[in-house]
């Protein structure tokens, strides 16, 4: 399960809409081992393509070093699909390289509806998971 605060969910969707029809991509960092996404980091899609994304290599180095210095890790890695469903493609699965991350997919194929789904991708296996807003947690 991914616990994703509403404002971060909105930030991901806003970024995806802003970059449409190109794919948008980014990271949400959080304290290492906490599984809490906290710090939203919009990344440049160096491919600027409607069907492919890649983090700019030097930007990725900078962000990964900052996370390391701050005791953070990439809790969420997100990107958008601009004409297809919010589900990992074979390419997404082949290149998934952070086994601990939640892979969030957004589809911007419909201008009126936001599709946002989250997945674990490890060893070539995709497992969908629930996305929950922490304010919706059941009271004790």
């Amino acid at each position: 399960m991914l616990t994703l605060p509403g404002e971060l969910r909105a930030a991901i969707i806003a970024h995806a809409r802003a970059d449409h029809p190109d794919e948008a991509c980014g990271v949400i960092a959080g304290p290492a081992g906490s599984d809490r996404p906290e710090r939203f980091i919009q990344m440049t899609n160096a491919e600027r393509s409607p069907t492919f994304y890649r983090f700019d290599s030097l930007e990725q180095l900078r962000v990964w070093r900052e996370m390391d210095d701050a005791g953070e890790e990439p809790v969420v890695i997100y990107h958008s699909h601009t004409a297809t469903e919010a589900y990992p493609s074979r390419t997404d699965i082949a290149y998934a390289s952070e086994p601990g991350a939640h892979y969030v997919l957004v589809s911007t194929r419909d201008p009126d509806t936001a599709e946002l789904r989250s997945f674990r991708i490890a060893d070539g296996v995709v497992t969908e998971e629930e996305v929950r807003d922490p304010v919706d947690a059941a009271p004790e």
């Binding site: 991509c25 990344m43 492919f52 994304y53 990964w64 493609s89 390419t91 290149y95 086994p99």
Partner: protein
């Protein structure tokens, strides 16, 4: 001679969990060959028949080695080499 090589999470099974290892060599190619002697299989994750694998980023200090000659990039004592798998994907089939 010691060159620090920072290993990404997904490759730490080759280094017994170590996030940083040391090696020696005059070029990136010889450094990777040196590491492969102690961490068998690591080199193949980084290099294929045509050179550095396309979706692995290798940095020498603050620069991407693609701009420094790739596997021929000279390395020296005190350098830091960082490996990060590219974060990439997309709807493209």
């Amino acid at each position: 001679m010691a060159i620090e090589v920072r290993i990404p999470t997904i490759l730490r099974n080759y280094t017994g969990g170590a996030k940083s290892v040391e090696g020696s060599g005059d070029t990136l190619a010889s450094l990777l060959a040196d590491l492969d002697e102690r961490y068998s299989g690591l080199q193949e994750r980084l290099v294929d028949d045509s050179g550095l694998r396309r979706f692995v980023n290798v940095y020498l200090n603050d620069e991407d080695v693609r701009f420094l000659g790739g596997l021929d990039a000279p390395v020296s004592d005190g350098d830091t080499v960082t490996v990060l798998p590219a974060v990439a994907g997309g709807a493209t089939p």
